[in-house]
Subunit: 331 residues, 2 copies
């Protein structure tokens, strides 16, 4: 996975809108120490990095003798690996372009590298997870939104401007549901995200007033993908329909992605995957049905091997092992 | 474009269902000599290669003094670069797996390389055309079908099995028009190919019996994309609508491709591009409308620079310059 000397360690930092998780990771993907703090309490990125340093310093001081911290990897929404920045992230209180790598490197006196969170997850899977040794795969993160990290020929796809891999925004239902944020119609994220699943559940409850459902025990605005999953597991018909509908659309989108880059595997990751077979079975069926025969029964559709709780730190830390391959701040 | 010595020449062979075009090309993309012959008159691939040799021998004997033929590049439907084969091509009379490179190399005593025709076109554009120096672009061939060649980070995308880049078969209208060959519903090829355009024209004539149209001068089965173009250029309203409809769908599909790999440019190539602005304008408008803001007004959507008549030979010949980069029969 890396040619660094055995004592090499990496710091992984996952910057989220609410919480920031951080930890120290060895080359096998063991997290030696980890913790988290609130992101939004820090008024400026500089104060945020000062706060991080305070928390990480004791961890860094207590790494095993003979080990060495190689660098810092950061996963963040709208993280730009080419410029070492976070740019116009809608869910963070710091606006505009934030030169986070510069601030981090100055404070910690260590090289640092940033990437968007979905691409970091793909690199994490490639470094520590089930994608080890794979040269062509796609990671789809199904959370509040739908993110993606695409690996082709062993490299993450960035495109000519660093923005490649916005598969959540590809149109799968032309003229369909309006996206709450982009205003676009019928994008994958409108349906396959946790947000989309809650909308589908509400729509189905509205459209089937005569059908009894456990989901009716909840206030409409409370219904989320976790509740839909619980109801479906209890045998609720409508809740099961929600996942069938979601899987059919997700499978169609995945089939399109397969015919683009012919990956060996597609990994599903994120909160929605807690629905297990409820989401996996209809997605797989729909994907296979929408593939040309030459692609059928070849692509492994699997859940990520990284533990949800650790994945963010692991993904961010994995960026560090790639530090040498290109310039200092690009993986 | 290549580091070969100045006198290096390449043979380009484009195997089509009806005709095979061939020629000798220098490194600048000048075709020194070219001709064509019927493909289907040859009962076996061996006889076909014997025929090719008869035709090419005099051309090879008359190349300028001091020049040297480096190898043979072949573009063919279902050409597999990894195995040097044509595999199960529906439009050729030779069935199954044909080890064409082996037969060609034995007969000509020259290294040979094969690729599918759309990928050869992409390599041709990268070698001699408007994609020179580009690392990320997509070539879309709009002919009887819709083919594609995707280049990411300077390399053609093959995927884990060599079959990547079947963008014509991606679903853009779920539950839409049934594909005449695959039986799938609403794929891009159903609409944006010459075949699809003829179907759209016929549908629009049926659905608008009261609307006068120049297209009604033709027998229904005669109507093709050339006739639609001619009528549209004469101001025919319905014929113009055909291209607006086609462009809207093609643009939606291209927007999805852009959000996958963020290419610097998309090249359109093939017979349908003779419609010029009739197809370009609505496609561009629709593509931009369906992109996330971060991708808008960035991607060059342009027609291929290679002359239609020469492109097949140029594309095939371009494979030869890449012969050194990997193994003998892989580009």
């Amino acid at each position: 996975m890396t040619n660094d000397f055995p004592g090499s360690l990496a710091i992984g930092i996952d910057v989220g809108g609410t919480n920031t998780k951080y930890g120290i990771v060895n080359q096998k993907g063991d997290i030696l120490s980890q913790s988290e703090m609130k992101t939004e309490t820090f008024a400026t990125p500089e104060l945020f990095v000062d706060g991080l340093y305070e928390m990480l310093k004791p961890m860094m001081d207590s790494v095993p003798t003979g080990s060495h911290i190689k660098g810092i990897g950061i996963g963040a929404p709208n993280g730009n690996p080419f410029r070492g920045t976070i740019e116009y992230a809608p869910n963070l209180r710091w606006k505009g372009v934030i030169r986070l790598c510069e601030i981090v490197t100055k404070k910690f006196n260590l090289p640092s590298v940033i990437n968007n969170d979905a691409k970091a997850a793909a690199i994490g899977e490639m470094t520590y997870g089930a994608a080890r040794g794979m040269k062509d795969f796609i990671m789809i993160t199904l959370g509040t939104g739908v993110g993606s990290g695409i690996v082709i020929n062993g490299n993450v796809v960035y495109g000519h401007d660093g923005f490649a891999g916005e598969l959540g925004h590809s149109t799968i239902r032309p003229g369909g549901r309006t996206h709450w944020g982009t205003g676009m119609h019928g994008s994958l994220e409108c349906y396959a995200s946790a947000t989309g699943i809650a909308i589908t559940a509400n729509e189905m409850l509205d459209e089937n007033p005569a059908v009894d459902s456990l989901m009716r025990q909840y206030k409409r605005e409370e219904i989320n993908s976790r509740i839909v999953t619980e109801c479906a597991r209890k045998g609720d018909k409508l809740a099961n329909e929600v996942y069938k509908f979601t899987g059919e659309i997700l499978g169609q989108a995945l089939a399109n992605f397969v015919m683009f880059s012919s990956p060996e595997a597609i990994f599903l990751f994120g909160g929605v995957t807690k629905a297990g077979n409820l989401i996996m079975d209809p997605t797989k069926e729909s994907m296979e049905k929408n593939l040309l025969p030459i692609f059928q029964n070849k692509v492994k559709l699997i859940f990520s091997e990284l533990k949800e709780a650790d994945a963010a730190i692991l993904g961010a830390s994995a960026l560090v092992w790639k530090l040498d391959e290109k310039s200092n701040s690009v993986v």
